[in-house]
Each structure stands twice: as structure tokens, then as C-alpha cells.
């Protein structure tokens, strides 16, 4: 008793002595980090670019004693003006992730083994080059496949050149905006995303576009949003968001219009109907700059249907309203607001196009911009002028290489399948398994992780097992890299020389120069440099195509032309900028520098170049169609179909029919080449699977690394108090009908499989839609991502857009029930 009591007295008396036994001495309270006693000596700010998304924001890295401790936006960069999105902020957790691959490795013990052996870079390069030479010497250079997730910047260019010089047509990039760009191509002849002049717009009619979250350039579009909502005194733009889920964009819009999935295009046609009936369209623009609005006659004297009649005959509002679930009143209001608040724009991204009718949805929505004349005008849809970078020298390869280059690519569809496809990477695994058109001997994976992100990942896995040798250039041991035989760890973008052009959605071209902020972290090498070195080792004729010592050298080569471009300016202070912009827009351009070297030095120091001036009215630049107009009726489309028909070898008369018959579309006539409504196809019987599965990307999961960043695991489901796990958003009524309560575990089942996930009751879900976030459910990648949450891609099949051959993620029906 005495002892015990004395103890208590001591505690009360405040003696810490009795605690020293445990963890209470002051020493232990200090974390090891603090014990080291930082005395920051060298602090510097290193300017670079963020490469975590296509936005290409300028960044400044705060480096203390060689360690990157904070990333801030570069105020001089015109895209982000010193601002960063969470992804850019969190890059620290990518750079210093303990899960990074620390050095080159080769697999030992065969394909199925999971044993790795560390090797030297010399051995790694030796292996890489010998595999390449082996293939080339056997005359099989086309049997090299490169799956490259990045489609811009130095790496992409070097890879592209490498594949060409090597002699392989199999360089695949992922372009999920393809249905969109196809729509722009068919109507305006432009093969990339268009830019939106948000800042000057008064009304934004958004068809499911997540312009505040996962857009190509989120900081830029968020800044634009803030500007047009609370930044222009007295001129607040209106926003209507049409989509099946109450997303961030819908929350921040004036009006949210829930719509039945896949009917976005029909709503656009309904709006067009009102515009036409009420004569609210821009007659002047239509007359001067469009083709196919009124009925017309071709050279052969055949008469054709015009867009105007097509719409006014077919898309009466009662039909539109019934199918889309949007009330007639709402349709009329949307149409009137759209036409009366000019400049207005109708925007979309691949969410509205992720269906079997995706391309037609895109055509219908984009046609609205033409109807009110919002193309190539301030506040409308624009086309970015590109940064005038130096072209790479011409390639001259031998005949054998040329032969191999012209082999069909490994993703080739059946003849006539997917008439509008430029590339159908979704077919790759199937073709590899079939050995069609030829077997693959060597595969490179870089910035791609199809074993996680592809709907047919199981097929991919089998295909990977079949490929004799796989090289992965990856910083992380992701699902796909697990199947590699050789791993050459890449540096992250914070450790590389690079340049980042502004994404095409930005009206102004800009290029930011990236320097390595941190060096000597892990035994990794920039893949750019690895490829350049491999090229050197491939022999002199090969090497002569790669006259650059390293990626920095390459970068300097690329920007060499900027000085002579006679436009644009180096990043500078806003005042100077405004002056120069005004001058340039009036046709004056003042050179700021006298010598190229001076220019380059300043460019490297200020961090980039851009051209703030936009010149309107260059018709042939904006409309690159045969008619040099916006084409409601796409002649490029007709040409494409004719070309395929010729290849198939049918005679001219019934050529179209043959192709039409392969497609599961209703239209057969002129409407096939115009915006119109096709019923979206969903997998799964409506009776058995009554709900639509709706997969979306929360901002905190858009980037492949984010699932492995604890910061994002903590914030991704903030709107529902969810973290570190997946969830499914269910409408309260639907939930109560099915006896599902908040936080219950439920099964989501489709014809392809089922996943178990936590139910969250969310008023922002449509009654017949279940929304699930994308990005979790990894089986590898890192300690925080692995076995966490579910991958909704397990629920969807490899469903293709019938025209473009793109895999779709929003075309599955599901049922849900309590687990």
C-alpha cells in the first residue's frame, strides 16, 4: 500500500521521475527527425513544371539542403499564376515515396516468379540493347510493342522517333478523349481538343464535363471559373450542369439537370430544336461559316437532308423530354438561356461520349456551338496555336526497316470494324493472344498500367504472360510491372529535364521548362536518357538519328526555334505582358532580345515562353474541312467511309450499306453523317440489372499515383466523409426501397462480376444510377494503394464505341444488394 500510495503522491507532486520508465522522458518525445537538429543552410527555389497531368503548371520547388520540402506554383507561369491543384501540391509524396523502385532489377526464376534481383545499370542497358538487337537482326523489329501512357513531352517524342528508327509501327498511346477529338475532326477538321474561352463567356452549358476536377488543365479551368463567377464585376456568368451525378461541377453550377445516362446528345438536339423553332440561332454565322444546315444538293444533283430539317422533324420536345428525363420547361429554359446570354458555350468531355452513341452525342453537343455562332469568337470555342518548337530531323531508314514500319499495327481491328478508329488499343491483348497479325516478341511499358486500368485486364495478364520479354520503365511496382522481366526505374517528373506545353484546352500556347529539382535520389534514370543511350548503343546509323547527348540537350534543341518565331514572349510581369499582348494583337511584335543565346538564357531562367495574343478570324485555321466551314454534315466522315469501302472492295453503290450493316445503328441515310440520336447500348438486361453503373474520378484519384498517396486517401471522399476505401453513391429512395442503409456493405453486380463496397446514401445520385469512384482497388503499386477499395473496372466489359473502337466505361447496368 505504501509503495502504491507513494507513487500516486509523486505523480500528484508533479515528479516526472516515476514516468521515466516509460515513454515520457523528454528525449523520447522528440521525433528522430527533430533530434537530427536541422540547421537549414542552403535554401533555394528551383523552377520547374508539374507533369502530373496535362495542365503543365509552372512550379517552384523549395529545396533546403538538397531536399524538396514544398512545391508552390510559379507566379510567372500564365497557366497557373502561382496556383496549384492538390495533385501538384502532393507530388512530394510521389517523389519521396518509400515504394519507389530503388534501382534496376531483373526477374529471376521465370515469368511466374515474383523474385527480383538488383542489377547494375550497365547490365540493365546491356540486356535491353541485346534484346533490341536480337529482334532487329532477326528482321522482326515490328514485333516490338510500346505501351506508352504519356502522349506529350520529350519522352513521347524520343520514344516515337525510336520506334520509327527501329522499325515498329506499334507505339500505343492512350487517348481517352478520342471520341471528342473525332467529333471536332468531323465537324472542323481538327484532330485534337478545342480550347474554350471561359473567361469571356457568359453562359456555360456543360454536358457532364468535369471541368472543375479532372480536366486536362484543372488549375486553369478553376481559375477561369472563379473569374467568371466572382471576378468580373457585374458580369457573373451562368452555368448549367447536365449529368447523372451531382458532381463538384454540378454543385458549383447555377442549375443541375440530372439526365438519363447516354441521352446527353438527345438533350442537345432538343435544345437545337428550340433554337431552330424559335429562330434563336445565329443566322449570319450559319450562312457564312457552316455547311449542311439547310437541305442541299451535291454535285451529282442528289438532294440531301439539312440539319435544320432533321432536328425540327425528329426531335420534338415531348420525345426528348421523355427519353432524357429532363422536363420540357427545363429544355426550353436551357435553350433560351444559351441563346440569349451570348457569348455562350456548350462544353463536353468524354463523360458524355463514353457510350455506344458517344460520337453522336459529341456531334450533337458541339453543333450547338455552331448554331449560336460561338466558334472562333471571344467567349466561344477556339483553336490553340501551337508552340513553334523545332521539328526533329528527317528520318532515313533502310528498306527493311521501312517494310517493318508499314506492317499493320498490333491493335488492328477487323476490316471495316470501327470505321473511325485511328487506333484501338483495347484490341491489343486479344490480338497478342491470337498472335494476330503476328506474335509480339518484346514489349516496353511506360506510364501505362493496363493490368489495372483496362477493362480486359485479365486478357492483358494472359497476353503479358505470352510475351517473351517485357521491359517496364516505371517508378513503381505497379500491376503491369510485376509481369516485366526487366525493370528500369524512371525518375519522376520532379527529377527530369522536360518541357510542358499547355494543354490544347488552353487558348494560348505556352511552354514551361522543367529542371530537375532533386538529384541523386535512388538509383533511377530518366527514361528519356535511357532511350537515348540505348539508341547510341544500337550502332552508328541508328545513333546518328539521335544526335542529343541527353534529355537536356534534346530540350535545348526543341526550343531553339522559339527565338526566331517572331511572336510570343518569355514569362514576365503582368504589366509588360499586357503591353506586348496589345501590340502583338495589332500586328506589332517587338523582339525582346538581340541574340539567341541571351534569349535562351532568359527563357531557362524565367521558366518558359508563351504567346498571349489570340488572332481571331483565320478561317482556314479554324475550319480545316473540305468546305472550310463548320460541317453539320461531315464530308470528312463520308470520305472515311468511302475509303474503307474501297479497301473492302465493294462497288460504289452499296458500299455504305455494307458498313452500316456491321454497325448496330438505326440510321442509314444522311443522318449517319450528322448529329442525331442513337439509343445507347448497355450491357445487362434492364430487368435483372435495373441500375446504371456510373464510374467517375474524384479529383483526388485522377492521377495514377494518387491511390498510393496517403494525403489523397484521406481526402478523396470528403463529400461523404469517406476515406481510405471505396464507396458507392446511392439515391436515398433507391436505398430505402432496397433496404440499404448508410455504410452498409453491398454487392454491386454486373454481367462481368461483382464487387463489395460500402454504400453511401447520397441525395446527389439519380434514383436509377449507382456511382462508384475510380482509382482504388490496386493489387500492387505501393503499400497504401495495395488491396484498398475496389476497382470498378472489374464490373465492366471491353465494350467498344462502334465507330471509334474506344473502350467505354459508362455502359454497364448493375444490380445492388446487401452483402
Amino acid at each position: 500500500m505504501g509503495l502504491k500510495r507513494r507513487d500516486f503522491l509523486k505523480i500528484i507532486g508533479g515528479s516526472a521521475l516515476s514516468f521515466s520508465l516509460y515513454d515520457c522522458s523528454t528525449k523520447n518525445y522528440l521525433s528522430p527527425i527533430r533530434e537530427k537538429e536541422w540547421s537549414p543552410k542552403v535554401e533555394e527555389w528551383i523552377q520547374s513544371v508539374c507533369f502530373a497531368c496535362p495542365g503543365g503548371c509552372g512550379i517552384l520547388g523549395r529545396v533546403v539542403d538538397g531536399k524538396l520540402v514544398k512545391i508552390e506554383g510559379n507566379p510567372a507561369h500564365p497557366i497557373n499564376r502561382g496556383k496549384l491543384c492538390p495533385v501538384g501540391q502532393a507530388s512530394l509524396q510521389v517523389l519521396y515515396s518509400p515504394d519507389r523502385i530503388k534501382g534496376p532489377m531483373k526477374k529471376i526464376g521465370g515469368k511466374d516468379s515474383s523474385k527480383w534481383q538488383s542489377i547494375s545499370w550497365e547490365e540493365a542497358m546491356e540486356t535491353l540493347v541485346s534484346k533490341l538487337k536480337e529482334l532487329r537482326n532477326a528482321g522482326d523489329s515490328h514485333k516490338l510493342v510500346l505501351l506508352n501512357g504519356g502522349n506529350r513531352g520529350i519522352l513521347s517524342e524520343i520514344f516515337d522517333r525510336f520506334m520509327k528508327v527501329f522499325g515498329s509501327p506499334n507505339h500505343f498511346r492512350y487517348d481517352f478523349y478520342n471520341s471528342l477529338t473525332q467529333a471536332y475532326y468531323l465537324t472542323q477538321g481538327i484532330d485534337e481538343l478545342l480550347a474554350y474561352d471561359f473567361e469571356n463567356s457568359n453562359y456555360i452549358l456543360s454536358f457532364g464535363s468535369s471541368f472543375l476536377t479532372s480536366w486536362p488543365s484543372p488549375v486553369q479551368s478553376m481559375r477561369a471559373y472563379a473569374f467568371l463567377r466572382q471576378g468580373r464585376p457585374g458580369k457573373k456568368a451562368k452555368i448549367a450542369q447536365i449529368e447523372p451525378r451531382f458532381s463538384i461541377a454540378a454543385c458549383r453550377a447555377d442549375k443541375w439537370i440530372p439526365i438519363e445516362p447516354g441521352t446527353e446528345g438527345l438533350l442537345a438536339l432538343g435544345i437545337a430544336y428550340v433554337l431552330i423553332k424559335e429562330r434563336l440561332y445565329d443566322r449570319n454565322f450559319i450562312e457564312k461559316f457552316t455547311f449542311g444546315f439547310e437541305d442541299w444538293e451535291d454535285e451529282d444533283g442528289n438532294s440531301h437532308y439539312g440539319y435544320k430539317n432533321l432536328v425540327s422533324e425528329r426531335y420534338r420536345l415531348d420525345f426528348v423530354s421523355e427519353t432524357t428525363g429532363v422536363s420540357v420547361d427545363d429544355i426550353v429554359t436551357l435553350a433560351k438561356d444559351f441563346a440569349m446570354n451570348k457569348p455562350a458555350i456548350a462544353i463536353l468531355d468524354h463523360n458524355a461520349t463514353n457510350y455506344s452513341n458517344g460520337l453522336y452525342n459529341a456531334l450533337a453537343i458541339h453543333s450547338l456551338n455552331a448554331l449560336i455562332g460561338s466558334i472562333d469568337v471571344p467567349g466561344g470555342v477556339l483553336v490553340q496555336r501551337k508552340v513553334p518548337l523545332q521539328e526533329l530531323p528527317k528520318i532515313s531508314v533502310d528498306e527493311a526497316t521501312k517494310m517493318n514500319l508499314s506492317q499493320p499495327a498490333i491493335d488492328s481491328p477487323e476490316e471495316g470494324q470501327f470505321p473511325l478508329a485511328t487506333s484501338t488499343p483495347s484490341l491489343i491483348p486479344e490480338n497478342i493472344l491470337k498472335g494476330k497479325p503476328y506474335p509480339v516478341n518484346l514489349a516496353f511499358i511506360c506510364k501505362a498500367n493496363p493490368l489495372f486500368s483496362s477493362p480486359n485486364s485479365e486478357k492483358y495478364r494472359k497476353a503479358f504472360e505470352k510475351i517473351p520479354f517485357i521491359v517496364s520503365f516505371s517508378s513503381f511496382m505497379d500491376e503491369s510491372t510485376l509481369y516485366a522481366d526487366l525493370v528500369l526505374p524512371d525518375k519522376t517528373y520532379l527529377e527530369k529535364w522536360q518541357y510542358a506545353e499547355s494543354s490544347p484546352v488552353s487558348k494560348t500556347p505556352a511552354i514551361g521548362i522543367g529542371k530537375p529539382i532533386v538529384e541523386n535520389l535512388f538509383n533511377a534514370k530518366p527514361t528519356e536518357d535511357v532511350i537515348l543511350e540505348a539508341a547510341q548503343r544500337m550502332g552508328s546509323s541508328f545513333a546518328s538519328h539521335f544526335p542529343w547527348k541527353n534529355s537536356k540537350d534534346f530540350l535545348l534543341y526543341k526550343i531553339d526555334t522559339l527565338f526566331r518565331a517572331r511572336k510570343g514572349i518569355i514569362f514576365s510581369d503582368p504589366f509588360e505582358e499586357t503591353q506586348l499582348k496589345l501590340l502583338e494583337e495589332r500586328g506589332w511584335w517587338v523582339p525582346q532580345f538581340t541574340s539567341a543565346s541571351e534569349f535562351k538564357a532568359e527563357l531557362m531562367q524565367k521558366g518558359g515562353w508563351w504567346d498571349p495574343a489570340y488572332s481571331f478570324g483565320q478561317r482556314s485555321f479554324v475550319f480545316r474541312t473540305p468546305s472550310r466551314k463548320f460541317e453539320f454534315y461531315s464530308q470528312l466522315f463520308v470520305k472515311r467511309i468511302e475509303k474503307i469501302a474501297e479497301q473492302i472492295g465493294e462497288n460504289r453503290e452499296d458500299k455504305k450499306d455494307v458498313i452500316f450493316n456491321q454497325l448496330n445503328f438505326e440510321s442509314r441515310g444522311d443522318d449517319f453523317f450528322m448529329a442525331h440520336y442513337e439509343k445507347p447500348q448497355f450491357e445487362g438486361d434492364k430487368k435483372e440489372f435495373p441500375l446504371y453503373l456510373y464510374i467517375y474520378q474524384p479529383f483526388s484519384l485522377t492521377n495514377e499515383y494518387e491511390a498510393n498517396q496517403p494525403w489523397f486517401q484521406e481526402i478523396m471522399g470528403f463529400h461523404l466523409n469517406m476515406n481510405w476505401d471505396s464507396w458507392a453513391e446511392i439515391n436515398p429512395h433507391t436505398a430505402s426501397e432496397l433496404g440499404i442503409a448508410d455504410n452498409d456493405l453491398i454487392w454491386i453486380e454486373s454481367v462481368h462480376g461483382k464487387v463489395r463496397v460500402k454504400a453511401k446514401i447520397y441525395s446527389g445520385a439519380m434514383p436509377d444510377v449507382v456511382s462508384v469512384p475510380f482509382g482504388l482497388g490496386h493489387r500492387a503499386l505501393g503499400q497504401w494503394a495495395k488491396n484498398r477499395g475496389i476497382n470498378p473496372i472489374d464490373l465492366i466489359g471491353a465494350n467498344f464505341d462502334q465507330l471509334t473502337g474506344l473502350a467505354m466505361k459508362l455502359s454497364t447496368r448493375v444490380k445492388i444488394y446487401r452483402a
Binding site: 524538396l68 512530394l92 466572382q230
Partner: protein
């Protein structure tokens, strides 16, 4: 003495949470594990609170980013038995980690639930220790912490101004969340300087403060159009 305060424009904010991440990065905030997060022990000095009103399909949602309100009449300070949290000369509510005994009285008396406790000793994988900010101390287990308005940035700004032999200017001192916010939704400055942007905005008809009726006199103002049902 300036009276530092913040104005957050909810009509600009897009709930991107860049401010949240920036704060975590700037202030050496340890991250949670799934288990700890499940027990609601995530530390996040800045948090975005979703406030949804209405019923499907007529919904209205506001996102409210919340740092410490740095109340002029702070209930948390009054109850601290050892003065580990106090109001300093510039009105910032300071938190002295080495003084805190971890009684969590202040956490319970913050009506905004914006104080956080270190349930365990914060730890980072060795590689991640590299990114820790040398200007900000690492808290030990068992102490309370919260948004400091990036006080270390004020100290640095002041040192810099002194080194350059000039007065501290308002724009010298920018907290991390303010600096990164893509929509410029957060304004920061001297509420007592009637010419400053924050002072002007705080007087705007759109301005309100959270739980104003409690008399805590928060120095964080919000701007929002329409009616406010806080």
C-alpha cells in the same frame, strides 16, 4: 499591430482541397492509417466541410474550407490550464506544443471542432522525412495542434523585412493554403487596415462568420450569395 484575418469566398471555392494538401505539406502534418482514419483521427488543420441542403433534384451544396477561426474571443484559450494555447499580440491563437499537457479541454471547447490531438507519436517512412518543413516543429504524441495561420511564415517574413530594413508589408505574409488556392478563394491580410482587401470584403453584404451567434468573434469570414443557414 495588424489583426490578421482571412476571408474565404465560397462562391469561388470549388472544393478542390489544394488548400488542405498544401497545409499538410507545409505544416508537417502526419498522415493517418486506414485504421486510424476509421476511428476519425485524421489530422487536417484545414478541412472542407460539405453542407448540402434540399432534396433530389433540387440540391444546393456549399463547401466550407475551415482553418482555425482564430477567434478574437476564443473559447479554447479560456479553458487551457497551462496557457499552452493563447492569443498573441497580433491576435493569432498560438499553440505551444512543449507546454501542452494534452488534457484536450481546449479541443472540447472549440465550437468548430478545429483542434486536433496527436493520439500517437507522428511518424513518417524514412524517405518521406525528406519532405518535412524545417521551419515547422514536429509535434510529440499527446499534444494538441491546430492551424497557426502559418505563423512561421510571418516570422520569416518579418525577419526578411528587417534584413531589408523595411516595414513588413501585408503581402509579405501569405499562408500556404492562401498561396496555392487555384480559385483565389482565400484572402488573407490585416482586418484592421480599412484599405486592405480582407477588411473590405469582410464588410461586404455577402460576408458572414461561422456560428457567429456564439460570440467567439472569428477572424475568418466567409462570403456567399443567398441565404445562409449555418
Amino acid at each position: 499591430m495588424p489583426r490578421w484575418g482571412m476571408v474565404i469566398d465560397l462562391d469561388r471555392c470549388t472544393a478542390c482541397q489544394a488548400c488542405v494538401v498544401a497545409c499538410k505539406a507545409e505544416n508537417n502534418i502526419p498522415f493517418s492509417s486506414p485504421k486510424e482514419a476509421g476511428r476519425r483521427r485524421i489530422i487536417s488543420w484545414m478541412r472542407v466541410l460539405p453542407m448540402m441542403e434540399g432534396e433530389y433534384p433540387n440540391l444546393r451544396e456549399r463547401f466550407i474550407p475551415r482553418p482555425c477561426m482564430h477567434c478574437d474571443n476564443p473559447p479554447c484559450v479560456k479553458v487551457c490550464p497551462v496557457g499552452a494555447t493563447y492569443k498573441n499580440k497580433e491576435g493569432l491563437i498560438a499553440q505551444v506544443y512543449t507546454q501542452c499537457i494534452g488534457c484536450r479541454y481546449c479541443t472540447n471547447n472549440c465550437p468548430y471542432t478545429l483542434k486536433y490531438f496527436n493520439w500517437f507519436r507522428p511518424e513518417w517512412p524514412e524517405e518521406m522525412e525528406n519532405y518535412l518543413n524545417p521551419d515547422v516543429s514536429i509535434r510529440s504524441k499527446g499534444v494538441v495542434e491546430k492551424c497557426t495561420f502559418c505563423h512561421h511564415r510571418l516570422q520569416k517574413a518579418r525577419e526578411k523585412a528587417r534584413a531589408e530594413n523595411r516595414e513588413l508589408k501585408e503581402e509579405d505574409y501569405i499562408p500556404a493554403c492562401v498561396q496555392t488556392c487555384p480559385t483565389d478563394a482565400i484572402y488573407f491580410g490585416d482586418l484592421d487596415d480599412s484599405k486592405s482587401k480582407v477588411a473590405q470584403l469582410a464588410r461586404s453584404p455577402r460576408a458572414f462568420r461561422l456560428l457567429e451567434e456564439l460570440g467567439t468573434e472569428p477572424k475568418v469570414y466567409y462570403l456567399s450569395e443567398g441565404e445562409w443557414h449555418g
